[in-house]
């Protein structure tokens, strides 16, 4: 007996039902953060090369969740601001979202290259502003009372030490003060430089993110500030002078030579077990344990908060190179971009990036991810030192001309460290005068 064919009306009804079911199911499958996106849409995201690993993770996960295709554009760390600004100014408008250095957001905002997100952030409870680490949240996103983004990479420096090298040279514990740090490094370099082992790798290449970071670490430890409570420059304070002098003192005993040492040279020496100390981002610990990095120091390292100027001073974090999610000024995909950065700055994503392998180079930006069980379980030491960001971290000035101010400081410090004949006080007095012009 043959089966009767369904009528045309019945067939249309079945197709319509199937289509409606598919739409309903796909809507149910989409998470809340995917509502703005639709399958097949694309978003171009500008990131620095250190975040390439994170870019891959974010791309895969966001696509899985929403179907939106993420196109990461990777540039060197010191070109991201210029790339975003030129993209917007030229009318190309190819970039929808970017994660620039937080110091540059004032200049980007003044140029109209990024959007003011104040209303959206304040009006969207899902963002959970209160969960961002307070010492990170405002410096990374706030300029003149307006909120321009959400924190992405916390990026605070801590002091890593090689346990074997310290043990060989008779040191039972890492240094607590910057003076002890110089003393221990000097001893190690004297004893072992013949074998290519040095007391410390010091980032000294002439860039705000490199030499500027090394100075900021010491400024934090000596209890100084870039600007005072009113926002006026205070870069020629006694603490800042002590920081510059401490940096000069270590240069003599550092991996040859600080002026040529950037991330590649310093991290390479660390992974090869050639330096006892390195000031670095907390994610270096993740990389040190990862066989894929070629690390020879797995399970041979320890980490502590940065040294201080005096034992009476509490250790502070130094926010040397944090990065912020921003939305480009001329993008036509603002809603989708908002959805993406809300998701990418969420606690779940930050927690996943902290513990992901291969390492993503991301540090905590939220209290909940910093205190998460998974982070504490895998990297208890890193979790402990990262808690320093919870109390009085040192941040660079932001706002208009902040990038230029950072460069002025670094240029003058580089001259001082190269032995131009000026004292630390004279050097920083020159910086102070220029900063008063630039920052007011």
């Amino acid at each position: 007996m043959s089966r009767a064919l369904p009528s045309r009306r019945a067939r249309w009804a079945a197709i319509s039902l199937a289509a409606a079911s598919a739409i309903t199911l796909s809507a149910c499958a989409s998470p809340a953060s995917g509502e703005a996106g639709a399958e097949g849409e694309e978003l171009t995201v500008l990131l620095i090369s250190s975040h390439e690993g994170a870019a891959g993770w974010l791309k895969d996960e966001y696509e899985k969740k929403t179907g939106v295709v993420i196109n990461p554009v990777i540039v060197p760390y010191d070109e991201i601001g210029a790339k975003l600004s030129l993209d917007q100014q030229s009318g190309a408008n190819t970039i929808d979202v970017a994660a620039p250095w937080y110091v540059s957001i004032g200049d980007l905002a003044a140029d109209g290259s990024i959007q003011d997100l104040t209303e959206w952030i304040e009006g969207d409870a899902e963002i959970d502003e209160g969960d961002f680490i307070p010492d990170i949240y405002d410096p990374y996103t706030l300029v003149d009372g307006k909120r321009y983004g959400l924190p992405f990479d916390g990026d605070t420096h801590v002091l890593f030490y090689n346990k074997e090298i310290l043990e060989r040279n008779g040191f039972a514990a890492p240094p607590a003060t910057w003076d002890e740090y110089v003393e221990q490094a000097a001893t190690i370099t004297t004893n072992e430089s013949g074998d290519g082992v040095y007391g410390a790798a010091v980032f000294g290449q002439k860039s705000p993110l490199i030499l500027g970071a090394s100075f900021a670490n010491r400024l934090a430890g000596f209890g100084g500030e870039f600007v005072d409570s009113t926002g006026a420059p205070s870069i020629n304070s006694a603490e800042a002078v002590a920081a510059a002098e401490s940096l000069r003192d270590i240069s003599e005993y550092a991996l040859p030579t600080p002026a040529e040492t950037a991330f590649g040279e310093g991290n390479g020496a660390w992974f090869n077990g050639k330096v006892a100390f390195i000031e670095n981002w907390t994610d270096l610990g993740v990389g040190s344990q990862d066989p894929a990095t070629g690390s020879l120091v797995a399970d041979k390292w320890g980490v502590v908060t940065l040294p201080v100027g005096d034992p009476s001073i509490a250790p502070r974090a130094s926010l040397v190179a944090g990065f912020t999610w921003v939305i480009s000024g001329n993008t036509e995909k603002t809603e989708l971009a908002k959805d993406f950065i809300k998701w990418a700055a969420s606690s779940e994503v930050n927690e996943a990036l902290l513990t992901s392998l291969p390492p993503t180079g991301i540090d905590p930006n939220r209290v909940s991810s910093l205190e998460s069980a998974s982070y504490g379980e895998l990297y208890p030491e890193l979790q402990e030192v990262n808690r320093a960001t919870l109390s009085g971290a040192l941040a660079w000035p932001t706002g208009k001309n902040a990038g230029q101010a950072a460069q002025v400081l670094v240029d003058e410090l580089a001259k001082y460290l190269s032995g131009d004949g000026s004292t630390a006080q004279e050097t920083l007095d020159r910086v102070q005068a220029k900063w008063e012009d630039l920052l007011g």
């Binding site: 030129l86 980007l108 430089s193 030579t257 990038g403 230029q404 580089a414």
Partner: protein, 309 residues
Amino acid sequence: MAKSTTLGLPPVRPLPRQAPRRRAEWAHRVFATPSVLSLLVLGAYPLIFIIAAALSESSLGRPFQQFVGGDNLASAVADTDVIAALVRSTVYALGVSLVSVTLGVVVALALHQAVAAGSFVRTLFLLPLITPPVVVGIIWKLVFNPSGGLIDTVTRFLGHTGAPLSLLSSTDWAFPAIGVADVWEWTPLVTLLVFAALLGQDPEVREAAALDGAHGFRLFRSITLPAIRGVVAAVFFIRLVIAFKAFDLIVLMTSGGPGQSTTTPTYLIYQAALQQFDVGRAAAITLLFAAVVTIVTIPVAILTRRLQQ
């Protein structure tokens, strides 16, 4: 009735001169248009843009925000780092150009003599020229690396036991070290051009001079050099301009350091425009730099023209 000539020939009508003249004028204009447009687009527009930027408060994202007159220029002139960079760049350009041209001429003469060496050796000499500047910078940075670089390894092999040689960290030696890389990269261009000039020499003149007893340096000084001096001068001019533009090697090898010892105007312009977003300051330094380059290169250009004549 038209007047007849004395020879009885019909009168000659005057040629309609206006139309061909107009056509010729239009043709001239049409043929000159590409040159004029090129000049405007490639020369005048950038110059006007730079001058306008130098006279205004201009950022990367928002150029020409406000007219500030000569403030940017005054600020650049008052900046000791800018003046030092201009002087440094001039000394560097003259130095590496002289070395490059001298070496290039010597190598070209050697190649010309060693005809048997053939195209393989000539191609080998051109390798630095076809190597991307980024690779050149990285190679030489590795050569000068104080922790296991070529120089460090060789000096240790030869018995050096003290602190490693750190040329790129020395305020005295960093620029000469960059100059070595620069000379290595660009001398092949000099060699190529001078070699071409040597090939264009009349061999009979050389042979006649040789028969008259001129050999070696005497032959070079009296016969070869006068024949190629115009080319050598032109090559020096080209090399000088290239050396003034040095940027990639500096970024890759020293980032302008240690201190400011390898900071050139090109590096300052890059910093001001692309790292500090201050296009007004970058344009002001560019104008100062253009003035210095013009002052230094004009005598060389005049000398080149005289020698070629």
